[in-house]
C-alpha cells in the first residue's frame, strides 16, 4: 500500500491513520496490538504530573450518533508513565500527549517526560470535561495557546502538535497562534460540547460528571469544517479527527485539508481492526480514482 505512505512533519508513516489520544493508548504492549491491526501511528493517553483517577463511572456512553465521554484524564501520572514509555517497543511512531493546567505544568512535563523515542508530542488544549484542563481552564484562547506552545518548545525538539477544540468560534486564529508559537502541526479537533444525555426513567444524567465530550458521526461535519478553516489559516499540517469511521470519511477529511487522520470512536463501531479496514478502503478509492499517493488529495476541496 505505497499509495498511503505519508510524511507528517518529518514523521514517516505507512498510512495516515493515527490512534487518537484517550483511546486504548495505555501501554507499549497494547501498541503492539494496534500496530498489528494497521495503525499508522498512535498517540498515548494523556499524562499529567500527578496520578489521576478521573471522573467516577459512568464515564462514557454510546448514543445513536456517537460516543460521549467524561473520562476526566485518568492516568497513572508522570513517574509511572515515564517508566512505561521510557523505551518505545513498537516500530510505528508513538506520539506523546502531555497535559497541565498552567504553562509551567506543560513545561515541567515536556522537560521530564519527553525523549527522543517519541515521534512527536501532542498538547491538547481542548478537553471539554475536566476542570483545570483544556477549555475548562481557558486553554483554547490564542493567548493561552501561545504561552503553552512556547513553554513546551523551550524543552523539546520533538514536533509539537496542538490539539484544538471544535467549540472555538474562529479556530483558524487559534491555529495561527499555535503556528507562530512554534507548533509543527494542528490536531483538529477534540470532542465537541460538552453534551448531556439524561436517562428519563431515573431523571438523571447518565454520565456521573453529567456532561461529556461528543465524538463520532455527530462530530464529523463539524470537524471537517474545522479542518477546512484551519487549512486556510496556517501552513503547518493538520491531523483531522472527528467521526472518521470509513475510508470515504478519511478521504473527505483529507480533502478538507488534513495530512493525516485520527481515529477514536471508529474503534467502537468497527473494532480494533478498523485501521486495516479503513486503509484498505482508502487504498481502493484512490486506485479507482487514479491517485498514486494519498497526499495528492490534501486540501483539494479548496480548489
Amino acid at each position: 500500500m505505497n499509495e498511503l505512505k505519508i510524511n507528517l512533519c518529518g514523521i514517516s508513516m505507512k498510512n495516515p491513520l493515527i490512534l487518537a489520544s484517550g483511546i486504548l493508548g495505555v501501554s507499549n504492549e497494547y501498541f503492539k496490538t494496534l500496530e498489528e491491526n494497521g495503525a499508522g501511528a498512535v498517540v498515548i493517553k494523556s499524562i499529567s504530573r500527578e496520578p489521576r483517577s478521573g471522573h467516577p463511572n459512568p464515564v462514557i456512553l454510546a448514543y445513536e450518533a456517537g460516543l460521549m465521554n467524561a473520562v476526566g484524564y485518568s492516568n497513572p501520572g508522570l513517574d509511572i508513565a515515564k517508566e512505561e514509555f521510557s523505551k518505545i517497543t513498537v516500530k510505528i511512531p508513538v506520539i506523546a500527549s502531555i497535559i497541565g493546567s498552567e504553562p509551567k505544568d506543560f513545561e515541567y512535563m515536556a522537560k521530564n517526560f519527553l525523549h527522543d523515542g517519541f515521534a512527536a508530542v501532542e498538547i491538547p488544549l481542548s478537553c471539554p470535561h475536566t476542570p483545570g484542563f483544556g477549555t475548562l481552564a481557558g486553554q483554547g484562547t490564542p493567548q493561552a495557546t501561545t504561552a503553552i506552545t512556547k513553554a513546551v518548545r523551550k524543552h523539546t525538539k520533538l514536533p509539537i502538535i496542538v490539539k484544538l477544540s471544535p467549540n472555538i468560534d474562529s479556530i483558524g486564529t487559534v491555529a495561527q497562534a499555535a503556528e507562530k508559537a512554534g507548533a509543527d502541526a494542528i490536531s483538529a479537533c477534540n470532542t465537541l460540547g460538552p453534551g448531556m444525555v439524561i436517562n428519563i426513567e431515573t431523571a438523571k444524567p447518565f454520565l456521573d460528571f453529567k456532561v461529556g465530550g461528543v465524538s463520532g458521526p455527530a462530530l464529523r461535519p463539524i470537524a471537517v469544517r474545522c479542518v477546512y478553516d484551519i487549512f486556510k489559516s496556517v501552513k503547518i499540517p493538520i491531523i483531522g479527527i472527528g467521526g472518521v469511521t470509513t475510508g470515504r470519511d478519511a478521504i473527505e477529511m483529507m480533502m478538507a485539508g488534513a495530512s493525516a487522520v485520527g481515529l477514536g470512536t471508529a474503534v467502537y463501531y468497527r473494532g480494533v481492526g478498523v485501521f486495516n479496514k479503513i486503509a484498505e478502503e482508502m487504498s481502493d478509492w484512490l486506485k479507482e480514482n487514479n491517485y498514486t499517493n494519498v497526499s495528492e488529495i490534501i486540501g483539494v476541496a479548496h480548489e
Binding site: 462514557i60 509511572i80 469511521t245 480494533v272
Partner: protein, 299 residues
Amino acid sequence: MNDANKLLRASEQIGTSKKQIPSGIDVPSEKQFSLPSELPNVLPIQSIEQECSDIKTFYFRYKMNFKPGQFVMVWIPRLDEKPFTISYHNEDSFGISVQEKGRFTKALFAMKPGDKVGFRGPYGNSFKLFDSVSDSAKTIVIGGGCGAAPIAPLIDALSVNKKSAPKVIIGARSKANLIYAKRFPDSTFVTDDGSFGKKAFTTDALNELLQSGFKPDMVYTCGPEIMMKKVVDICIENDIPCQASLERYMKCGFGVCGQCVCGKKRVCIDGPVFEKEELVKISDFGKFTRQKTGEKTPI
C-alpha cells in the same frame, strides 16, 4: 470471529438497539423509530436472595439474550457503574450475585425489591461449549469464592441432562462465603478452613480428580486470579484444554477506553473468557491488574 462482528453481535443482544456502521444506517420506519444506541435499561429489582454471609443475588424480569460468561454494566445513578457477570438466566429473567465489598455494593445491598438499577450489555465473549452432550460430561468446572457466579449459568448450560453434567468444584474461604451449595448439590465443596466440605483448595480437588483417572476434555474456571493461574498451570502440565474468566477494573465495557487492557488484550471485549493458549501469552495474567488511574499493580 472478528472484533466488529463480535461487537455487532453483542449489541444485537441489547434488546432493540442494533449497531451498524454509521454510513450504512437504515433509517427505521416511523412506527418503530429508534436509532441504535447503547444506553442503560433501567429495571426494578424483582426479588433478592441471600446466598451466604456476604453475597446476595438480585433478580430482574427481563428477556436478555445472554451466553454464559458474559457480563453487564450495572448502574446506580449518581454513584457508579460496575461490571457483574450474570449468575442466573432463564427465558424472561436474570440474576446477578454480588459480594458486599465497597461503596457500590453496599448501596446495592441496601436496596429493596422495586428499587431500580440500570443495565448495559451483555458484554464480552462467552465460555466455549461443546456441541454434543457426551462431551460436556467430560468437563470440570471450578469456581472460587464469588467466582462461582459466572460459572453457574455455564454449569446450567452444560447440564442439559444428568448424563451431561460436568464435574463441579466450588471453593471458598469458609462456609460463610460459599455459594450455590443447594443449587449444585452434586459438586465437590472445599473450604480453606474446612467449615464446609473438605478442608482444601480447589486446586487440590482438581489434582485429586485428575489423579483418580478422570480425563477431562475441558476445564472451566473463575475465581481469584492466583487460583486461576494455578488451575491453568495444572492444565498445562496435564495437557488439558482450559478456559478462565478474568476480572479487571472496567469503564466503557465495549473496548475503547483501555482501562481493562491486560497484556495485548482487552478483558471487556476480547474476554473476559480466555483460553489456555491465550492466557500463556498474556503477560499480566496472574501477576498484574490495572487501577482506576491506569497504574499497573501486582495482583
